[in-house]
């Protein structure tokens, strides 16, 4: 057997869009090496009801580990359950999403199983003799094609990059109750606070609208918010470091070298010059739009579409036009 295991993340008992990407990536890899894709989901009681969409994304079976103490991520608890599941099965590969959870968990699993990890993969070639994985290095200034020589290949995939496939809905669901003992945890979350209630995080959003110093004043962010609202719930606001350092926006929104790496379907840079450290965080976006009044701004040479003009005139117009477009849909 050459099965591929997709580790699927839940948040508040919900399976997000990123989960389907992981499952489809697993199905893509499995078809290349002659096996099938199966998924593992961990969470609190009642989770099994939420996993329906995983079948059409390519999973032939889904194992759901339910335990009250797994409702929220704990690295030590999740590590044990995942490692046991991998040891009990017969997998050639394990795929996780490169979210903060995936980036925290995957290296622990790899070290525990003594196999290497290819992080933040953005593409794969599963048809050859050995599968090759493509990952950006030097903050996207080069791409490495890597092979993994180990009996288990572990990879994390960058969110928003892998397409979600359409597969038959045949899927075997199994439930189990893992052994979890919070008394043994040496790492404990003692407080949790949502910062962007009801809005997706910039690192996972399908559309990112980022503002830079050209916005002039934090009071002008309403213009970006209006644009985000007409684009929809998959859109999030980002920021350049200049405006984060100035205290106009929270660090959680910063895109770039020392902020977040994003790969949305659409990235809109408004009043951002396009310094190399900013480009490092968004250059693998599918479509890049820049609004800048300086025709020589470096961001315009990275953009697929650019508008040279005053953002204070362009933004309201964009909001208006996109609103009109959406109302026709």
């Amino acid at each position: 057997m050459a099965d591929v295991l997709a580790f699927v993340e839940q948040r508040d008992g919900q399976i997000g869009g990123g989960a389907r990407e992981v499952v489809s990536a697993a199905a893509q890899l499995a078809s290349g090496i002659g096996g099938s894709a199966t998924a593992l989901v961990l969470g609190g009681p009642g989770l099994a009801a939420a996993v329906e969409g995983l079948a059409t994304a390519g999973a032939t079976s889904v194992a759901v580990g339910e335990h009250e103490a797994l409702a929220e991520y704990n690295p030590e608890a999740y590590l044990r359950v995942v490692v046991n599941h991998v040891r009990d099965g017969d997998f050639k590969a394990l795929i996780l999403s490169a979210t903060s959870l995936g980036k925290d968990l995957a290296p622990r699993v790899a070290a525990e199983l003594d196999v290497p990890l290819a992080s933040d993969v953005t593409g794969m070639d599963a048809q050859g003799v050995v599968p090759l994985f493509i990952r950006p290095v030097y903050s996207g200034k080069a791409f490495a094609r890597v092979s993994i020589d180990a009996n288990l290949a572990i990879i994390t995939i960058r969110p928003n990059v892998f397409p979600v496939g359409e597969y038959g809905a045949e899927c075997h669901l199994s439930k189990f109750t893992p052994d979890v003992d919070p008394a043994t945890w040496r790492v404990r979350v003692i407080e949790r606070k949502d910062t962007v209630e009801g809005v997706v995080d910039v690192s996972e959003a399908a559309v990112v609208i980022s503002g830079g110093r050209g916005m002039k004043d934090p009071a002008n962010w309403g213009l970006l918010q209006e644009l985000r609202d007409v684009i929809g719930p998959d859109a999030a606001l980002g920021a350049s470091r200049a405006v984060v350092d100035a205290g106009w926006r929270p660090h959680a929104e910063q895109v770039g070298q020392t902020g977040k790496t994003v790969s949305p379907k659409l990235y809109i840079a408004v009043g951002i010059s396009g310094a190399i450290q900013h480009l490092a965080g968004m250059r693998t976006s599918q479509t890049i739009v820049a609004v800048n009044r300086d025709p020589d701004a470096p961001i315009l040479s990275m953009a697929d579409y650019g508008i040279v003009g005053d953002l204070f005139e362009v933004l309201p117009r964009m909001t208006e036009e996109i609103k009109a477009l959406k109302s026709e849909d």
Partner: protein, 249 residues
Amino acid sequence: MKVVVCIKRVPDTETHIRISETGTDIDTRGVKYIISPYDEFAIEAGLRVKENMEGGEVSLLTVGASEAQETLRNGLAMGADKATLLRADSYMDGLGTAKALAVELKNSNAQLILFGVKAAGSDQQQVGPMVATLLDLPCVTGVSSFKFGDTVVICRREIEGRVEVVEADLPAVLTITKGEYEPRYASLKGIMAAKRKPLEEREASFNQSGIRIEKLSQPPTRGAGRILEDGPDAVPELVRLLREEANAL
């Protein structure tokens, strides 16, 4: 408190990256090297621990070529007390690096082991939690600030859409991200003092790398973008292109 900070020598993030003739590495001619930016945050965090507690010590640890001595000196100039270079001349994947570091850290008696959240260049975000797992130590990743309780370290981390406060038993491993620890500049005095601080060099215990770079290439070029010059009047055309050509709306 004994603190060890693991740092990596990486090409300056402003460097233009060219691919070497072998096609599996970068062309290092003319490349300037720096301490990886997040590792500088980690050094800063370590120095502040020492400053806030009495009898502390901050040591630096790296795996790399002999040239990494220079990187360690730069960290010593910031204020660290001593440094160790585990010499390895060929490519190591994250697990190989983690194993080499773990062998050294095992008997270090460190209460706190700090990493950058990711190394610029390899961009893996894996070595820290791997070392923690190999040493069976508690680990918190992506920490933007931390303080100590009696037997614990209390960390703040910002993840997708939320802020968490996480407590870990000591000794612990933390990976540091941008937050409170804006790195200090080395003073002239610091640079002079660094020359006399202990710096040891030893062979790294080397493990076969399971990840092989088959080919390194320039990023796929983006087709020349379409730049519309007419300010707000270009918006309807932009929106049409985004919907019909780019399929992005």
